[in-house]
């Protein structure tokens, strides 16, 4: 193993300077000449740190990872590694900064895959909801009538609006038409897994009425009708009703108010 000779070495006056230079080398690979240091050892650290960064991103974004070509992946991961000022103590949260970085640097446009920002947010939301701190559940009963009883929502959810139907992404096709899409990601109360459901605009509107006004499905429908100033066709209402029954059985709704 080669030990650096003194001729090319930098002159350091403090431990801080040395550590800052070490950190700079780790992230950029810019050649650094330290006294009494071993090149192989420095390189080993740089590799270990890079693997930690890349591994955390790969774990959080498995679909994104498959959509990108190797070249695209290497380019963006290397750029992020070198330039992101990582603020989280927790390595598992690092991918959240990657989502912001990717969007800021306009990589989706550069890779000609404009849905990629949405894809990262969507995949991150699964991680975030799975890990989110427990929220106290309100009291509720299992038995009730969806039409007349007040629905109690599972508070462990996030409702997000995307520009693309991102949940339909196909890793072979790698294309999506731009259609505004509403997705609720929630933590299943039994399995504790993060699950998602895509809602129509009407269902999302009904959902919001139920959350805000703490009302039954039927009440929510009548509010919607009042706002639209017209009666919803019966078949439309019954499709929504089925949807909300499903949300009940999937535990996005816990049950009914006591």
């Amino acid at each position: 193993m080669k030990t650096h000779e003194s001729k090319n070495k930098l002159k350091f006056t403090s431990g801080k300077e040395i550590q800052d230079s070490m950190g700079h080398y780790m992230l950029t690979g810019d050649t650094m000449k330290f006294n009494n240091s071993k090149e192989e050892g420095l390189k080993a650290y740089r590799d270990l740190i890079f693997n930690n960064f890349e591994g955390s991103i790969e774990t959080a974004f498995p679909i994104f990872n498959k959509i990108l070509s190797n070249k695209e992946w290497e380019l963006v991961v290397a750029d992020f590694f070198e330039n992101n000022k990582s603020q989280y103590n927790e390595l598992w949260k690092l991918p959240k900064e990657f989502v912001e970085y990717f969007e800021d640097k306009k990589y989706a446009e550069a890779f000609n895959k404009p849905y990629l920002n949405n894809l990262l947010s969507f995949e991150w939301m699964e991680v975030e909801v799975f890990n989110m701190s427990d929220v106290d559940f309100p009291e509720y009963k299992k038995e009730g009538n969806i039409n007349t009883d007040v629905l109690v929502v599972n508070p462990e959810y996030s409702m997000d609006v995307y520009d693309y139907p991102i949940h339909k992404i196909n890793i072979e096709k790698k294309e999506l038409d731009k259609i505004q899409t509403i997705i609720i990601t929630y933590r299943n109360i039994k399995t504790k897994n993060a699950e998602y459901v895509s809602l129509s605009v009407l269902d999302a509107f009904i959902f919001e009425q139920i959350i805000e006004s703490k009302i039954s499905f039927n009440k929510a429908i009548s509010i919607v009708e009042k706002q639209l100033n017209e009666k919803l066709p019966n078949d439309v209402v019954s499709v929504s009703e089925k949807m909300f029954e499903e949300l009940l059985s999937n535990s996005l709704f816990l049950g009914y108010k006591i």
Binding site: Q19, G23, H24, E39, E40, G41, N52, E90, E156, R187
Partner: protein, 306 residues
């Protein structure tokens, strides 16, 4: 390795033990629940979480968790952590405190660790004698602090600052390192002086001493002998990987080698009874192998401590 226990006796005879066993009168931070005759623990890993509750393959006396991987989590992992706390005494072993950094200490984070410890009735917070942050950015790895006088003063002050917040001694681990940088003083003097100035406890990683003695060409036994062993709160053991003729990486992914057991035997012969923890971060195919390693360490401890 299968014959390891049989050859302990031979090692005993061939290893010259010059120190008398320390009469340890340490004020241990461990709660009474940890006071079995011998306490052998295992790092709790999400990859093998179910094994810790099966009762069949592994039976550690206590576990260690990285607070960064658990603080603030709800859902599945919160349920698991509650189960862990019901079954095992827990130690927190941090990764991101970065006592060696020149960036400000993350006081908010230290307070989070403190309340995490309160919530789970944890007595010990150990961290690495290293830095993991520079230029206001986390690096997510443990880099060696330059062994210099100014570093000693700086690090000791920071350890004291942490101790003031958590209101108990911080337990500082000797780290493995793959290069020294701008070294001015010996590693052993660096460690000893920080432990003394900060008046903190030590987590002695025996495998790290072995790895460093190989990477930096010194005598591991002599190094152990010179440490203030009365400050050791608990011990780490682990496997490593030789990646070239000159470099061993502290992977925590392999089995412990006989040379490290031998050094562990020597170390435990010099000091009083403390808990010992096996670190394994990946390569979990052979779960029985982990229990075998814990059993082997237990036998060595029994020989030296009971």
């Amino acid at each position: 390795m299968v014959f390891y226990l049989a050859i302990i006796i031979i090692i005993r005879i061939t290893t010259t033990i010059t120190n008398d066993k320390l009469s340890v009168n340490q004020q241990s931070q461990f709660s009474e629940i940890m006071k079995k005759d011998i306490n052998i623990g295992l790092g709790f890993k999400k990859e093998i979480d179910e094994e810790f509750f099966s009762n069949n393959t592994i039976n550690p006396d206590f576990v260690e968790v990285a607070p960064e991987n658990w603080i603030g989590l709800g859902g599945y992992w919160k349920q698991v952590l509650n189960k862990v706390a019901d079954k095992y005494p827990i130690i927190t072993h941090g990764l991101s405190l970065s006592v060696g950094s020149y960036d400000d200490l993350d006081i908010r984070f230290i307070k989070q660790v403190k309340s995490f410890m309160n919530e789970y009735d944890i007595d010990i917070y150990s961290e690495h004698l290293s830095f993991a942050k520079t230029n206001n950015a986390h690096l997510y790895d443990l880099l060696p602090i330059p062994f210099r006088e100014d570093s000693i003063k700086h690090v000791s002050e920071r350890i004291k600052q942490v101790q003031d917040i958590i209101n108990k001694p911080l337990v500082i681990e000797n780290v493995s390192y793959y290069t020294s940088v701008e070294q001015e003083i010996l590693e052993i003097d660096f460690i000893k002086e920080i432990l003394h100035q900060a008046d903190c406890k030590m987590l002695l990683d025996v495998n790290n001493v072995y790895v460093n003695s190989f990477n930096h060409n010194y005598d591991a036994y002599d190094f152990i002998k010179k440490l203030p062993l009365d400050r050791v709160e608990y011990i780490h053991m682990a496997g490593h990987k030789k990646v070239s003729d000159n470099l061993i990486i502290d992977t925590h992914g392999e089995s412990i080698i006989d040379e490290v057991y031998k050094l562990f035997d020597y170390t435990t012969s010099l000091m009083g009874n403390v808990p010992v923890l096996l670190e394994r971060d990946f390569n979990f195919d052979d779960i029985k192998g982990l229990q075998y390693e814990m059993d082997t360490m237990r036998e060595i401890c029994k020989n030296n401590w009971i």
